[in-house]
């Protein structure tokens, strides 16, 4: 069996999962007490006004016909019309994707930059200062909630030492990199803890492997052994951890988006649920689902590409 033999079957799974998600989101959303009319009218709610809103939004039709309409629109590439923004839900969602995607990519890169060297050296110098200090530091930063850490960063780097902006997304690549530095750092510190700890462990395990001894006995320089044999194999074990946590990150940016006033998908989802903006909630959930399913798939593929044994395992 080829290394990626299981791919077609995985793709079929993906389609089924996505279909299931539309179904669950659609009906769960309508089980929440309170409807869009109530969210729109608030204290000036009257039954007559609510009925007028419902008929305007098509919410007075039978629920199955609403679902059929939603799926029909979806196949034609439309998510419907946002109740709150009074424009196409697709446009609303597309406007909110860049900050979140940029933030996740930025955090992922920062996390890799922080954790790869530190995790590796902590493994090499097990029990020494690097190991102990990094253990304490990352355990602490992991324990700090993101919204609190974010505020502390703002206090230090934006108020007392006015180096970084407090909130906003900036414009242009450099602007985004500058504006999103503190939020990305906030996320990446929590993310790094997992990576540092697992890279440290896998480095220690790899150092004990027989092929390392063999390489050393062949007379290869220690720095070469570390680079070619230890680091490569140790990192491989961390790829799965990285992928799974990256998927979590997508839905977990909402707190950081709130602290730094970033108009991202997480914020949009939370607001849209309280506004009962059904088309937007359905759309964002679908985007999240696609991203998470996609990242999981990519992680499997990447692992299979890096390690032939894995491809055979998931292929059987």
């Amino acid at each position: 069996m080829s290394r990626f033999g299981s791919l077609p079957r995985r793709l079929v799974h993906v389609v089924i999962v996505l279909f299931g998600i539309t179904l669950v989101t659609f009906f769960l959303l309508r089980l929440i007490p309170g409807d869009p009319a109530l969210a729109i009218l608030g204290s000036s709610y009257t039954h007559a006004r609510a009925q007028a809103i419902d008929s305007g939004l098509g919410l007075n039709r039978p629920i199955w016909s609403q679902y059929a309409l939603f799926m029909n629109r979806l196949f034609h590439g439309s998510l419907g019309f946002s109740f709150f923004y009074h424009e196409s839900a697709t446009t609303v969602i597309l406007n909110h994707i860049p900050p979140t995607l940029f933030l996740i990519a930025y955090s992922a890169v920062l996390a890799a930059l922080i954790s790869l060297p530190i995790g590796f050296f902590a493994g090499l110098r097990r029990g020494r200062a690097v190991d102990q200090v990094s253990r304490v530091f990352f355990t602490l930063s992991f324990a700090m909630p993101a919204f609190w850490l974010g505020i502390i960063f703002i206090l230090i780097f934006s108020v007392h030492l006015p180096v970084f902006p407090i909130s906003g997304f900036g414009s242009g690549l450099v602007g985004h990199l500058y504006y999103l530095f503190l939020p990305a750092l906030t996320i990446s510190l929590g993310f790094s803890t997992v990576l540092v700890r697992s890279l440290r462990t896998s480095t220690i395990t790899t150092l004990r492997a027989e092929f390392v001894d063999t390489a050393q006995m062949k007379g290869i320089a220690w720095s070469q052994v570390l680079r070619r044999h230890v680091f490569r194999n140790a990192v491989l074990a961390v790829v799965a951890v990285y992928g799974v946590n990256l998927a979590y990150l997508i839905s977990g940016t909402v707190l950081v988006e709130n602290v730094f006033s970033l108009p991202g998908l997480g914020t949009l989802l939370v607001n849209s649920v309280s506004d009962r903006d059904y088309p937007v909630v359905q759309g964002v959930t679908l985007v999240f689902a696609v991203l998470i399913v996609g990242i999981n798939l990519l992680t499997d593929v990447a692992q299979a590409a890096l390690d032939p044994r894995i491809g055979q395992e998931i292929g059987t």
Binding site: I32, P33, G34, A37, L38, A39, I40, L41, G42, S43, S44, Y45, T46, H47, A48, R49, A50, A52, I53, G56, F84, Y85, H86, E87, N95, H96, V109, L113, I151, I154, L155, S158, V159, P162, V163, F164, P165, I166, S167, G168, F169, V174, L177, Y178, F181, R227, R228, F231, R232, N258, V259, F260, S261, P263, T267, L268, N271, S274, D275, R276
Partner: protein, 522 residues
């Protein structure tokens, strides 16, 4: 691979260096903010907590967006700064004839939209008709309106099927803002992402989730604002908003959290300013729950609650104990009504009289995340326990809480009211008329003399008679107490002392103050 890794590390280092460099350079260049003359700045930056829902006045439901709209569009008339009367806006004068059935408005001959297009009577007619027809909108306010016509370019005539005293106040409402007929018809919904109005400011950039930029409208018929630009930033996180103000990157922030009010006041150069609002915080009592059917029980609850304690503990003293159910800053408010005194003994006596000497058990719905509301609930729970009533606090997300309170299966619920028009007709219909559509704030309290008075006041044009009728309504609600009026809470803004003249009216509008305020360099 190792080579690749090394080069990636190197490029990462370069990015980090570049970041530091940009950070330093932009922090030195971003200060200022467009100074015009010596010592004064031309831009005012306001940080709001809530995103903009739309700039379409017929569809607005978010207060912050409504207040923003007032700067962009004009209406026939507008509320004055104290929220107790009306000022001319597009209409410079109007006459009422035919026993109150015909209103004739004379428009400013020189009114123009911000793109230079003349504003004519047909734009006014179109805008009012458009908002009237909006599903679930404010059309119901204008039910007695028979026709709206434009006999010439500067005259609008409205005829009614029956006299309707709140008409002028209704027309001064945001929903009846004037939009250019030609452009709205041509562009549809897209028009409202780059709208053209006739207010003092116009939109130059619109990002509903982050920032809306306004510039002075060169074609505005009124006085020229002293500032030339207004930036509205959306910063939902309370702490972040306060930090923006403390680092002087914004000039005004809305709704600083109660627990940071003292800190802001202590910061040199900053202060928290309170503006009386039309917000009335009250506790809903649903008459479907047996004990609340009895007026004596409802009165007992009023005596059992210490409003001064709630104002102090939940609102840090920044609220006024409530008396009448009508907002305390509006026409026809009855000053003679005083808040119920705190008198637990009297409460116990009333409960015994009503057949509940040992109290009863009930629940109180609160909104999760509403810090002041949660504190208020805890105080109420404790005080009612002292007279034998057990209160279980149930906390829900906002819309869920509303839906639990509205359906007629509720018991006690924390609610609030704010006016959309300056006339008492709206609050009286929603709060005191069980047939008005809102079941008297979902209390389901029905009192025929009160309903009659509300209806009569709507078509009564004599001011003194209306005062009398609305006093009667307020007295009835006070004594029969279908809900517990707790307090009147003001709008709260954090303002830098370099801003001179920021002011919000009881309806929340700040457009009048933006026309005259100044910003000094800081």
């Amino acid at each position: 691979m190792s080579q690749g890794f090394r080069s990636r590390l190197l490029s990462a280092g370069v990015i980090a260096l570049a970041l530091t460099a940009t950070a330093c350079s932009s922090s030195s260049s971003s200060s200022g903010g467009g100074s015009s003359t010596s010592g004064t700045l031309s831009t005012l930056t306001i940080a709001n907590a809530v995103k903009v829902d739309t700039l379409d006045p017929e569809a607005n439901s978010v207060n912050e967006s409504i207040w923003l709209d007032q700067n962009l569009y004009s209406r026939l008339l507008q509320p004055n700064a104290t929220g107790t009367g009306l000022l001319p806006d597009l209409a410079t004068s109007w006459t009422i004839s035919n026993k109150g059935l015909t209103y004739t408005f004379h428009l400013r001959p020189n009114a123009e939209f911000s793109n230079g297009m003349p504003l004519t009577a047909s734009d006014v007619v179109y805008s009012i008709q458009r908002s009237r027809a909006f599903k679930g909108g404010w059309g119901f306010l204008l039910t007695p309106v028979k026709t709206i016509t434009a006999p010439d370019a500067h005259t609008v005539v409205i005829t009614l099927s029956q006299p309707h005293a709140p008409l002028l106040a209704d027309l001064a409402m945001y929903a009846y803002s004037v939009v250019p007929e030609k452009l709205v018809k041509a562009q549809g919904a897209a028009f409202f992402t780059h709208p053209v109005g006739s207010g003092p400011f116009m939109v130059t950039s619109y990002n509903p989730d982050t920032e809306v930029d306004l510039a002075r409208n060169p074609h505005f018929y009124g006085i020229t604002p002293k500032i030339s630009k207004v930036k509205i930033l959306i910063i939902p996180n309370d702490n972040t908003r306060v930090l923006e103000l403390e680092s002087k990157k914004v000039d005004v922030i809305e709704n600083p959290p109660g627990n940071l009010v003292t800190e802001i006041d202590k910061t040199p150069g900053l202060s928290v300013q309170l503006f009386p609002s039309t917000r009335v915080d009250f506790i809903q009592l649903d008459e479907h729950y047996a004990p609340f059917k009895k007026a004596a029980v409802r009165q007992a609850l009023n005596y059992a609650i210490n409003r001064n304690a709630i104002v102090k503990l939940a609102y840090q003293g920044h609220a006024v104990p409530g008396a009448s159910f009508m907002p305390y800053r509006m026409e026809f408010y009855d000053n003679s009504i005083r808040p119920y005194p705190y008198d637990p003994a009297k409460a116990k006596q009333l409960l015994a009289q009503a057949g509940y000497p040992h109290g009863f058990t009930t629940f109180l719905i609160t909104v999760s995340g509403d810090v002041a509301g949660q504190a208020e609930a805890v105080v109420i729970k404790q005080e009612l326990a002292a007279v034998g009533i057990t209160v279980n606090i149930q906390s829900y997300e906002l819309t869920t809480a509303y839906s639990k309170e509205d359906g007629g299966h509720s018991q006690m619920g924390e609610r609030y009211w704010t006016n959309d028009i300056i006339d008492p007709d709206e609050v009286a219909t929603f709060g005191a008329d069980c047939q008005g559509g809102a079941n008297a704030f979902s209390s389901y309290w029905c009192d025929t003399p009160t309903i009659n008075a509300v209806n009569q006041a709507r078509s009564e044009l004599n001011s003194a008679t209306r005062q009398q009728l609305y006093s009667q309504v307020q007295q009835a609600v006070y004594t029969q107490s279908p809900f517990i009026v707790v307090d009147y809470s003001p709008y709260r803004y954090g303002v830098g002392d370099w801003v001179h003249g920021f002011h919000a009216t009881p309806l929340g509008n700040y457009d009048l103050s933006l026309e005259t305020l100044t910003v000094s360099s800081h």
